[in-house]
């Protein structure tokens, strides 16, 4: 286990989460007598959850920066109704509707971002208000009716890639996607070794690379097979493709751009970030605005799948998205969390929903189980931090600094298996004695009001002023 942890480094956690997800799927597969891993069920799972997963992408950034967004469901709903009405009554083409939706989302996001970043209202409050305002607007605009949407939107929300190319017995589009994903996995390993050689680190032993890449490739291969062998005319669903594109885009933004680094910097220590030249306001503004744009997108995908926009669209979505982010390893105090982790967290929730439903468990029990899973996942996190020694189970859901993200630090022997130990220092003190606060918040700086980071109880305590 230690060797595994050392060698898998940062990739370890997301890797273990993937394995947890696989175990969950396997469990349901057996418990339902094979109803889970069928092409049509998997397609349903993707179609039925991609909107929440898209929200999770934005939400993890909001949570990392130290806020929370409760308005995403309402924003999705109001954008949905505006777009549906515009499409029906103004006769605009579908792409103009899509564009309109994104613009409305951006405007809403700028509105909320302005309150958070420039007025200093905590995101929690701003978006609680937004949740009511935009829900109300949805019902006002739509007169609480449901409005149907045209076919193109339905394709976006639940469609498939058209068939093309030679008859292979598989869906060609899906095959291509699978091959691309596999190629990426291999390319990443090669890139890692190349860097190790260039910078002068010891590269991972080959057996580690073999296991890591092998398991991932098997995963990808299997699901490619599954999605490529559905009913004729079906493929990896279009919402899934959109989701994958967004994940790639946002993974890159968060890990490989200035903007992304700023999000983590502000969430980790706002005062230090501003002394390093980061504009906290601009960062807050971007993150909040971006969240609403993604919510708009999710809303439009959802009305596509539902074939209409209704007055109750998007209720409770915020909670699903937030749960996904925390199961995915983000910290309530900000600064920690990844896009890929949150997606896996969201898939865990989705699998639970789906599996329990297939088992015939009622929605009452499903909710209870989902709640318990959320608690358990975060409890493992907390427990591990307080113990300072990661356990096998803990490994599955452990949070860690994002710099140890999968594509950057797997190359580092033991580069990151130690979050638990590292956290032990301050967190143990918190756990065992009521007095000390974690080191980082020990001193307040008069110069930046509310500048010290992280307060333990509220996610949005960073908004001091």
């Amino acid at each position: 286990m230690t060797a595994l942890r050392t060698h898998f480094g940062g990739a370890g956690r997301q890797f273990s989460m993937l394995i947890a997800l696989a175990a969950l799927i396997a469990f349901f597969q057996i418990a339902t007598g094979g109803k889970v891993l069928t092409p049509s069920n998997m397609m349903n799972l993707i179609n039925g959850n991609s909107h929440v997963l898209i929200l999770a992408i934005g939400m993890v950034m909001v949570i990392v920066v130290g806020h929370i967004d409760l308005s995403v469901g309402s924003v999705a709903a109001v954008v949905g109704i505006i777009v549906a009405i515009a499409l029906r009554d103004w006769g605009i083409p579908w792409w103009a509707g899509l564009l309109l939706g994104l613009v409305v989302g951006a405007l809403i996001g700028m509105w909320q971002g302005w309150w958070v970043a420039y007025i200093g209202i905590p995101g929690f409050i701003t978006t609680l208000a937004g949740m009511m305002i935009f829900r109300g607007l949805n019902q006002y605009i739509g007169k609480s009716n449901s409005v149907p949407v045209p076919e193109e939107f339905q394709t976006m929300g639940a469609g498939y890639i058209p068939e093309f190319g030679p008859v292979t017995g598989f869906n060609n589009a899906t095959l291509l996607l699978g091959i691309a994903a596999g190629a990426y996995v291999i390319w990443r390993e090669v890139a890692k070794r190349r860097r190790a050689a260039k910078v002068g680190f010891a590269p991972d032993p080959l057996w580690v690379v073999g296991i890591r890449a092998g398991l991932l490739l098997a995963f990808i291969g299997y699901f490619t097979y599954l999605f490529a062998t559905g009913r004729p005319g079906t493929s990896f669903p279009i919402p899934g493709v959109i989701l994958v594109l967004l994940v790639v885009l946002y993974h890159t933004i968060t890990q490989r751009t200035k903007l992304g680094r700023h999000v983590y910097a502000v969430g980790g220590n706002r005062a230090a970030a501003s002394l390093s030249g980061v504009s906290t306001r601009r960062t807050y503004f971007f993150v909040m605005a971006n969240m609403s744009v993604l919510a708009a997108f999710a809303g439009m995908m959802f009305i596509g799948r539902a074939r209409a926009s209704g007055p109750f669209d998007g209720t409770m979505w915020e909670l699903d998205a937030i749960a996904a982010v925390f199961i995915g390893g983000a910290a309530v105090t900000g600064g920690i969390g990844t896009v890929t982790g949150s997606i896996i967290g969201g898939l865990v929730m989705a699998t639970l929903n789906n599996g329990l439903q297939l088992m015939g468990v009622g929605s009452d029990m499903t909710q209870i189980i989902k709640g318990l899973v959320l608690l358990a996942a975060v409890a493992f996190d907390v427990y591990n931090k307080s113990q300072g020694k990661p356990s096998i189970t803990g490994l599955l859901f452990r949070r860690r600094p994002r710099d140890d993200d999968s594509d950057s630090s797997g190359a580092t022997a033991g580069g990151s298996g130690e979050t638990g130990a590292m956290g032990a220092d301050s967190d143990n003190a918190t756990a065992t004695s009521p007095a000390p606060v974690p080191e980082a918040e020990a001193r307040q700086q008069p110069g930046l009001p509310g500048a010290t980071q992280m307060s333990h109880s509220t996610p949005n305590a960073q908004k001091g002023n």
């Binding site: 910078v199 002068g200 002394l275 080191e439 020990a442 307040q444």
Partner: protein, 513 residues
């Protein structure tokens, strides 16, 4: 072997973190009623040893025995060790800024009668405790309104409230000026006279020589030796030899001074307190730094040196009222930190934990964080460049870590400071402002950092050094400004400066310039 007269014995303590053996069969013996010092380089394992002793790292996470008053003890947490009379004051103060003095003192130990907190009694007890540590502040003022020196005394008062028999202080004076340090040491002497046993970690060897009865030296997780005053071998040189393994012939590296043109000028700079209107933190201050020059800023804590520096650095402190800055003779306006960095300024803050570092971050990402453009050739950050930069600083700064992907939180205090310095060196500044850069740094590393500062100057950069240690300023600087109550009161070339005259200027309120 009798253990009866030893207050504490730690035997063969070994503590490992993944990839790091922080302590390797360390022995520590402390006699009853003495002040025992622990010395060692940054990352030697001093704080870790004290965390083992105080139950922060619970029994079972380390190996070896702790013998307190002749009995083996096994603490499962901080509370348990406090119960046994051991109280630790951590390297980083752990007071809650928003809470009042008395709330902080009795946090977790509230004075309760009939199930409710008895604030009246708490207040009178607080006053008693404050008297014991020689502080006269209102128990109701929030901690954030107090200076660091006072906060440190509050920490001790808090410890005293817990019926402490063994007091552990991890670098208690590192953030204090001479005056406050002196007070604190006096207080420790007073407590010793009353029979208290204390353990103190410090990098200020003169203080240790002055106050400690015995010293244990740790290097790389190993006990090197135990020196005792009674043997007469307890002096700075012996300690240094034990710490670094050789004698250090000079505290300050030699340097060729080549001072050039004026590089940076500040004129009539005035800053107002953002929270208390009308209170000026800097009062029409003017100063200039030449290329290749190291300029010191002396002043007592709260004189406004940090405030002035941070305000100049992209107006990141207080409310700017007036003043101009000139770079190479040309006036420049730097209204944001970002623009200050772009103009070649760098400011290394005094408090690395709250201002210098994101403790969730890794060494690698921290080092490049103040100048991401440098590793962003196009749209995306180039991770190869990032790794290379981080790796080269790890080597050149001798940052003690197995890998640059480690979190900065896993580093010892001194190594964290090196990371902060690296972060600002990485921006290749023209003007480097260092605010207490050697706070909490061991003698060897200090020498290295001085060497780096000299290198910067030799490369034609301008350096501003803010320090509360006058010997450091006298040892390093070509010229020293003194600051008192937001005003620059003196501008003294090194050749004319001595501690006494600096002290005088630091406390005169009339402007000399």
């Amino acid at each position: 072997m009798s253990t009866s007269h030893h207050k504490l014995e730690m035997r063969q303590i070994t503590k490992e973190f993944p990839g790091v053996k922080a302590l390797d069969r360390v022995d520590l013996t402390v006699d009853a009623g003495e002040i025992h010092a622990i010395c060692g380089e940054n990352g030697a394992g001093k704080s870790t040893l004290m965390k083992v002793l105080s139950g922060v790292y619970p029994h079972g996470t380390y190996s070896g025995d702790i013998v307190l008053d002749g009995e083996v003890v096994e603490f499962k947490d901080l509370k348990a060790s406090e119960h046994a009379g051991i109280v630790i004051i951590h390297q980083e103060l752990a007071l809650i800024p928003e809470l009042s003095v008395m709330e902080n003192i009795f946090l977790g130990n509230e004075v309760v009668s009939h199930g409710l907190i008895d604030w009246d009694r708490a207040r009178s007890l607080t006053l008693e405790l404050l008297a014991q540590v020689g502080l006269s502040v209102d128990p109701r003022v929030p901690i954030k309104n107090l200076g660091v020196g006072q906060q440190q005394l509050i920490e001790i008062a808090k410890a005293l409230s817990k019926d402490v028999k063994l007091l552990i202080l991890d670098e208690p004076t590192s953030a204090l000026n001479e005056h406050d340090s002196h007070n604190l040491l006096e207080l420790l002497r007073g407590l010793k006279a009353k029979g208290m046993t204390s353990i103190m970690i410090s990098h200020k060897l003169n203080e240790i020589e002055a106050i400690a009865d015995s010293v244990t030296i740790i290097r790389d997780g190993l006990t090197i030796e135990r020196l005792a005053k009674t043997n007469g071998d307890l002096d700075e040189d012996c300690i240094i030899r034990g710490m670094v393994g050789r004698a250090l012939d000079a505290r300050y590296p030699p340097r060729d001074v080549k001072v050039g043109e004026v590089l940076f000028e500040v004129e009539d700079w005035t800053v107002e307190d953002a929270n208390i209107p009308g209170r000026m933190l800097a009062k029409s201050s003017s100063f200039r730094v030449r290329a290749g020059e190291i300029v010191g800023f002396a002043g007592v804590m709260g004189a406004g040196r940090t405030e002035l520096a941070r305000s100049v650095f992209g107006r990141s402190f207080g409310t700017y009222r007036s003043g101009t800055t000139r770079l190479h003779g040309k006036e420049v306006k730097m209204t944001t930190v970002d623009s200050a960095i772009k103009h070649g300024l760098a400011y290394v803050p005094e408090d690395r934990k709250t201002l210098g570092l994101n403790l969730l971050d890794s060494i690698r990402t921290t080092i490049v964080s103040a100048d991401l453009d440098r590793i962003t050739p196009h749209v995306l950050l180039d991770e190869d460049m990032e790794y290379e930069a981080a790796e080269s600083f790890r080597k050149s700064m001798r940052i003690k870590t197995p890998h640059v992907n480690r979190g900065v939180a896993t580093l010892s205090g001194g190594n964290q400071q090196k990371v902060v310095l690296s972060k600002w060196m990485f921006t290749e500044p023209e003007l480097l402002i260092l605010d207490e850069p050697t706070r909490g740094i061991d003698v060897g590393a200090k020498y290295e950092i001085y060497g780096l500062i000299n290198q910067m100057a030799a490369a034609g950069k301008a350096v501003v050094l803010i320090s509360s240690e006058l010997p450091e300023l006298l040892g390093m600087c070509d010229r020293i400004y003194t600051v008192c109550e937001g005003r620059i009161t003196g501008d003294v070339p090194r050749s004319e400066a001595d501690q006494e005259m600096l002290m005088r200027l630091m406390t005169t309120t009339t402007s000399a310039a």
